[in-house]
Every structure is written in C-alpha cells, then in structure tokens.
Amino acid sequence: MKQKLDRNTIALRVAREFRDGDVVNLGAGIPTLCSNFLPEGRKVWLHSENGVLGYGPLAGPDQQDPNLINAGTQFITSTPGISFFNSADAFNMIRGGHVDITVLGGFQVSEKGDLANWILPGRGSGNVGGAMELVTGAKKVIVAMEHTTRNGEPKLVKECDYLLTGKACVDMIVTDLAVVIVTEEGFLLLETAPGYTPEEVQSVTGAHLNVSEKLKEVQI
C-alpha cells in the first residue's frame, strides 16, 4: 500500500536521528513537531534561539506560561535541568559548535546541500531569523519538508533559484516521500515512503538521486 508520511510521521522519523545527550534546535513548522517524538531513554536537550535549553513537549492548553515559549512562540514545557539565558548566549551556543543537530523547514535544497528557506520569489520580505546562524554553526543540519510544493514542483533541485539561507550546509532531508542525504556526489536516497519506488521518488525530484545499496522503506 502506498503511504506518504504525514507531518507527524516526518517529525517522528527525524527524531530518530537524535542521540543521547544531543543538543537539538527545532525550526518552525514540521520541525517543532519533533519535540513530541523524542526517543525514549535518550536525554535530548532542546535549544531555542530565544534563550532556553532543555524544554520538553509542547504545552497543553492548561499549562501555558507566556515566559516559557520557544522561538516559534509556541508554549513549551520544562524538563529537569532546563536553563534560561539571553539570545546572544543562545547564538554563542550555536556558532560555538555546541548545538549537535538543527532541524529546519525548507523551500528548496540543492544537490550540493544549499538551502533556501527564508523568502519566496515575488515576496517583498521574508524572515531570516536564526536560520543562517543555525546552518553555519550546528554540527548536523536536517531539513524536514514536503517533497514538492503544493503545485507539485520539486523542492529537491539541482540549483536553488530562491535566495539562499546557507551554502552547502544540509546533511539530510526527510520528506513525505523519502529520506535523502547529501554527499559529495549529490543526493543519495536512503529510504522511501511505504509503497514508493525510487523511480517514483525520482520523478518528483529536480536533481539526480543516487540510490543507496541499502535502500529500505521508512520504518514507522
């Protein structure tokens, strides 16, 4: 049976990349959902640009504290060991190499790992936010997004034609159709959504996909 991953399942798949003790920053959109799927038995330190480290899943309606939010202004919960600081310190952590993984949304990712995720063509302005610093400083950059735009245009491309967030910064892309890593030879397809063939994924991808010898279905 063919089954695209929904937004929650993409987040679940991304969260499997988190190791014990990792410091992880989650961007807006699908990435924030990862906080609800932290792997059991592993302590993951969620970091946010507004100055918090060690927050937990998103807060329910009855536990909302306006002074306990992430950079996406979502209400969050605390976990033991949580600490607070200012944004300058939050970015010192990022640039200083203290953040292990950042998960971001994307408009386009090129086969060289370039990322465009802050402004759409034709728009007068977009939000750079913390993304440029995150892709510069984080040890591993994962992009979580739909495989194509609403109009069906590929978002994995040979060259980004949108304004860049960062050059050659993306390590891994998790979409509703596939898990792809960026290598020196370009995109490498590691996993496909249930029921999808590599050819079907290639047909909605704007650059060549090398297919891993160990290709498998995404385990959900």
Binding site: D20, G21, V23, K43, W45, H47, L53, G54, S78, T79, P80, G81, I82, S83, F84, F85, F91, N92, M93, I94, R95, G96, G97, H98, T136, G137
Partner: protein, 250 residues
C-alpha cells in the same frame, strides 16, 4: 581509570569521583584555559593540583595570571594553589595572560625565569580583551575589532583598521582543549551556579574548550537548581568533580 575507560564513558555521565581522573586525558602540548582571576576565589585549585600531579608537559595555559602565588584575597587558612604550580613544575611552554606577576613582586617568579631562559613564551593581553577572546572562542567568532591597547605592545604585529574615525586592533579568538573552571554548585547535567564573585573568567572559560571540567562545592540532582539562577548551561560542561568536605567554599 584508564584512558580507554574514560573515552568509553557515556556522554551524559558527567560526575567524576576524583580530580585525577577528570584530567587523566590531558595530553602533552594541550591548550588549557584556567578560569580564575588571581586570588583563591573562583580558582579551580584541586584540578590544578591534579594536572600538576598528572604531569602533562609543553602546555599552553590561558588565563588572567600564570600564577602569582595567591598573595591577595587569601585568608590565612586558604589553600595556596594557582596556575603557578604548573609553571614551577615545568609543564608550561606558553602563557596567554594579562597579569602574570604579583604586584610589587621583588623577585622574578618561575614564569619570569622561564621567559628569560627562553623556555616559556608569554603573550600579553589586556584583561577584558583576554576574557572577550575566550568568549569569542566559545561563541564561534573568529576575531573582533578591539579599541584597547592601540599604540602599545599589545598592538604590535596585529592588523588595525579605522572604523568611524577610531583605530581598532584585530583580536583573534582563543579555543582550548581543556577548560578547568570553578563553580559553586552543579547538577548532574552540568548546569552551574556561582557564589559571590566566582564568575570572573569561569563563565567564558566554560564555553571555549573541547572538554570543560568544573570543580564545585556540591552536586545535586538534575532539576534541583532553579533554572532562572543557572549561569552556565550544562551543555558547556563535560565533567564535574565535587570538592572533599574540608575544601568546600575555600
């Protein structure tokens, strides 16, 4: 503890029982940032003693002093250990410092003698710029323009630039292999709080090395420290060692 065992430790297992094992993997030639100001306040004394006993040589030490014999701010019963123990033990080949000599010291100290003999290189820094270079190292800033020390020995052989009519010097970041720091309390996740003016160079030193080791008076369970009072978030801290009772608060 063998080095293999040390390397095999889980990342979140930060509590070390002895000071010796917390510095067991400091290699010859390492750069060690020592969080301290001058006197015994905020000085990681037991870590320094352990590093002396460990014996790693050819070290680059980074810090406000290179050991001035804790002549000031010391109570009579205070421990008297500072970075000077490494210099005296001939473990230091380079010192990046601001205030390496005691005010009014009549005799050259071991650092001055080592410098004279050509065994030790000394790099002098304005104090605040030294702190800022360490912070930059921890914050991923490669270098910055400083207004301090223009026209003095500090500006020799450095790039300069005029910005809005004022002259600045390019100061480079400092990164360490190990930071030895002192704090008051830690939780098991490595979060740190300080007491009195212990923070001085310790807060920036905590961020700037591959391995940061904190010497504290007390270790509590994760979650017991008030998050609003935590100054150093635990992700900067890799190892914590608690002082034995008789040395706590000293």
């Amino acid at each position: 503890m063998t080095l293999a065992k040390l390397r095999g430790r889980a990342r979140s297992d930060k509590v070390f029982v002895t000071f010796a094992e917390a510095v067991a993997d400091v290699q010859d030639g390492a750069t060690v940032i020592i969080g301290h100001f001058g006197g015994p306040g905020g000085m990681p004394m037991l870590l320094l003693r352990a590093l002396r006993d460990h014996g790693a040589r050819d070290l680059t030490i980074v810090g406000n002093t290179a050991g001035i014999g804790v002549v000031f701010g010391a109570k009579r019963d205070a421990l008297r250990i500072d970075p000077g123990v490494l210099v005296e033990n001939r473990q230091v080949s380079r010192a990046i410092v601001s205030y390496p000599i005691a005010p009014g010291a009549p005799q050259p100290n071991p650092l001055e003698e080592g410098f004279k003999a050509g065994d030790i290189k000394i790099e002098m820094n304005p104090q605040g710029i030294l702190a800022e270079r360490i912070r930059a190292g921890g914050a991923g800033i490669a270098a910055f323009w400083s207004p301090v020390g223009v026209g003095t020995i500090v500006s020799e052989d450095k790039e300069t630039r005029t910005i809005e009519g004022k002259e600045y010097i390019l100061e480079h970041a400092i990164k360490g292999d190990f930071s030895l720091i002192r704090a008051h309390k830690a939780d098991k996740a490595g979060n740190l709080i300080y007491r009195g003016n212990m923070r001085h160079f310790n807060v920036s030193a905590a961020t700037a090395s591959r391995v940061t080791v904190a010497e504290v008076d007390e270790i509590v369970e994760t979650g017991e420290l008030d998050p609003d009072k935590i100054v150093t978030p635990g992700i900067y801290v890799n190892r914590i060692v608690c002082r034995p009772k008789q040395f706590r608060g000293k």
